[in-house]
């Protein structure tokens, strides 16, 4: 069976610097693949190519075995690829419903945005994801980190993502909220989503992921099943850029 999503031999350069250099990764349905590496290793850049924010110089993307042509965030959404960004990508001055539906507003028969219906839908999905979420009318700048994160996650879940990209989803969160995100990832896995997870936290990654891919200087060092490696193995891959068996 073809993987749910596959990125083959992806390369991109910025002004002579090869930010991503011939990297191939894939994710299967119901699987969580972690991307690890230093700052500037190229993880976020690689993932932004999949979400349509950057256009790759070389390489191909396949979704469910079919070649996908992704040149903008809108294209990515057409392939049911949803992204939760490191920076949350919320418009701070708008309320939760406006952010959830940003770019895909519900409209009434006259073509006007239907705020009441969007608010009702937001209440429904929030009741599922984060029952404590009550501040529907306030701009999201008035929300806590966890509440903001649940808006960002709700956006991905609401539109029936098949492939979910989470860039540092727990970076801004407290212990309790991090636990919530972990539970949510398990829940989404059960529903058969393929998830790419980016994080700095090696221990957390070994808990949440099925496989981890390590990048350094734009290149893929290796992909390992989490059962087969220890935290130290991963760390040596991140730092030395070598697979554990090659390490002297």
């Amino acid at each position: 069976m073809a993987p749910l999503c596959e990125m083959r031999d992806i390369s991109i350069s910025f002004g002579g610097v090869r930010a991503v250099d011939g990297v191939s990764i894939h994710v299967n349905p119901g699987e969580v693949v972690g991307l690890l590496g230093h700052n500037g290793a190229g993880k976020s850049t690689l993932i932004k190519i999949l979400s349509g924010a950057y256009k790759a110089d070389g390489g191909e993307i396949y979704v469910e075995g079919q070649k996908a042509n992704i040149t903008s965030p809108r294209d990515a959404r057409r392939y049911n690829i949803e992204t939760i960004y490191q920076t949350l990508a919320l418009a701070d001055n708008l309320d939760a419903a406006s952010n959830l539906f940003l770019g895909r507003e519900l409209t009434n028969w006259m073509g006007f945005v239907d705020d009441d219906r969007m608010e009702a839908e937001t209440r429904k999905i929030m009741a599922r994801l984060n029952p404590n979420f009550k501040k529907l009318k306030e701009p999201v700048s008035a929300l806590s980190g966890g509440q903001r994160q649940s808006v960002a996650i709700a956006r991905a879940v609401y539109f029936n993502a098949k492939i979910l990209i989470m860039d540092e989803p727990t970076a801004a969160l407290g212990v309790h909220e991090t636990q919530m995100v972990a539970e949510l990832i398990q829940e989404l896995k059960k529903q058969g989503l393929g998830i790419f997870l980016i994080s700095h936290d090696t221990r957390e990654m070994l808990e949440l992921c099925d496989r981890v891919s390590v990048m350094k200087n734009g290149q893929l060092i290796g992909t390992e099943r989490v059962e087969d490696v220890t935290e130290d193995d991963i760390l040596s891959m991140i730092i030395m850029g070598k697979k554990p068996d090659q390490a002297a």
Binding site: P73, A89, A91, G103, E105, G111, A142
Partner: protein, 429 residues
């Protein structure tokens, strides 16, 4: 956890239940204070129907452009060229209706189609120039400050070049009806308009409440809703009553009857009523508010202002959005050009000079944040009204011209300072 209803909605005092925007109240309060002060200083001449009528028609041109400036500033840009663009549109329309159409196209003077062709062509020119500036900003990534600073020089002098610096007039009589005192609805139609506006406003309130109830959202108590409806109705009808109280001077009425070959009946009176230019401003305000609150375009404008990266990642074409915002600004400059030149009954070379500063000041006094993402249409219009009342009030009191500008400049800075403090206190940004 059991499903306990949130207690937050139960303990609200009478005033909070109204859920009115405190900043709007503050601005209305400031406006009223200014009006009352000037009224005292001028021995009651400021708040006469005549002066209120003049104040409204003087405000229209700047207020129309200020609504567009809200969108420009909300998307983190600026437009310094609005006054110059107004001049270019005004010059083009003046030349079109007095020279090109009658002579080159052979329509002759006073052809019934002249004003309409002129206005449509003027709107097209304004929109195109605006769109061009937006393209330079959005697609070629030149900062809006620079593009429109250049535009300020370019369009001001394109206007000059078109007319060779001459004053062009008199303009078409129908065209001049958009200027204020030359075109008003009269007493009866003003009342009809006022009543229709009240009915529409009450219906809008009622249907919004019904939609909220249908979704099971919390609503204001019925008495609060009724109070707001009552205030709106009194406001609209009061405004119409004041304008209707300004009667056309009897000398002028006599001349109007003479022109028709009739004799004025003894004791005949007539009122100006609602000026067509004010009607135009109301229409612009309604349309711009609809765009801001109920369309995708408006949602994207505010989203882009709040977080341009987020907007782009959400699939919004922010470059095209910039073009649209500037094109809209250009169209509004053209509408203002119609109003401004019609009010003066001719196109003069200095028309719209310094309007860019008045327009930006109106938007900013009205609560538009230069950091982007925040601003309201009604705020900008109120801002324009406050600026104009200050200016004409001081002129009536007899304040020296340099002092007038010193006061206006100080008020602008003070208004933004108060706004910043207000935002910090209320937890906004």
């Amino acid at each position: 956890m059991t499903d306990v209803p949130a207690p937050q909605n139960t303990k609200r005092t009478g005033f909070q239940a109204l859920e009115v925007d405190t900043r709007l109240l503050g601005m209305i309060g400031a406006f009223l204070v200014i009006c009352i002060c000037f009224n005292v200083l001028t021995d009651g001449r400021f708040l006469t129907p005549r002066n209120i009528f003049n104040l409204t028609i003087q405000t229209v041109s700047v207020a129309i452009m200020a609504t567009g400036m809200v969108f420009v500033i909300v998307t983190r840009h600026i437009d310094l060229a609005v006054g110059a663009l107004l001049a270019t549109c005004s010059a083009f329309m003046a030349m079109l209706q007095t020279r090109y159409l009658p002579d080159l196209f052979g329509l002759g003077l006073g052809h019934p189609l002249t004003p309409w062709i002129t206005i449509i062509a003027g709107l097209a020119v304004g929109t195109l120039i605006g769109a061009f500036q937006g393209w330079l900003v959005g697609y070629l990534a030149i900062p809006a400050f620079i593009v429109t600073l250049g535009g300020l020089l370019v369009w001001r002098n394109v206007a000059w070049y078109q007319t060779s610096g001459q004053t062009i007039g008199p303009l078409d009589t129908t065209f001049m009806k958009f200027g204020g005192i030359n075109g008003t609805l009269g007493e009866t139609w003003s009342w009809i308009f006022g009543v229709l506006a009240v009915i529409w406003a009450l219906y809008a309130l009622w249907s919004a409440r019904r939609a909220k109830l249908a979704h099971g959202f919390p609503v204001k108590p019925a008495w609060a809703e009724t109070t707001i409806g009552g205030i709106i109705a009194v406001g609209i009808l009061g405004f119409i009553a004041i304008l209707n109280a300004y009667e056309i001077p009897s000398r002028r009425l006599e001349r109007m009857f003479e022109a028709r070959g009739e004799v004025m009946p003894e004791g005949f009176t007539a009122s100006y009523g609602l000026p067509i230019s004010v009607l135009l401003l109301i229409a612009v305000a309604v349309v711009m508010t609809l765009i801001a609150q109920r369309t995708r375009l408006g949602r994207y404008i505010f989203a882009t202002g709040g977080n341009p990266d987020a907007a782009e990642l959400s699939g919004i074409n922010t470059r095209m959005l910039t073009v649209k915002v500037f094109a809209l600004m250009g169209a509004l400059c053209a509408i203002s050009a119609v109003v401004a030149s019609a009010r003066l009954t001719n196109h003069s070379n200095d028309i719209g000079t310094l309007d860019e500063l008045r327009v930006i000041a109106a938007a900013v006094i009205g609560g538009t944040a230069l950091a982007g993402g925040i601003g309201t249409i009604y705020g900008a219009i109120l801002g324009a009204l406050i600026m104009q009342s200050l200016q004409s009030g001081m002129a009536m009191v007899g304040v020296d011209a340099p002092l007038q500008n010193i006061v206006v400049g100080t008020v602008l800075v003070a208004a933004v300072l108060i706004d910043t403090i207000y935002r910090k206190k209320t937890g906004g940004r």
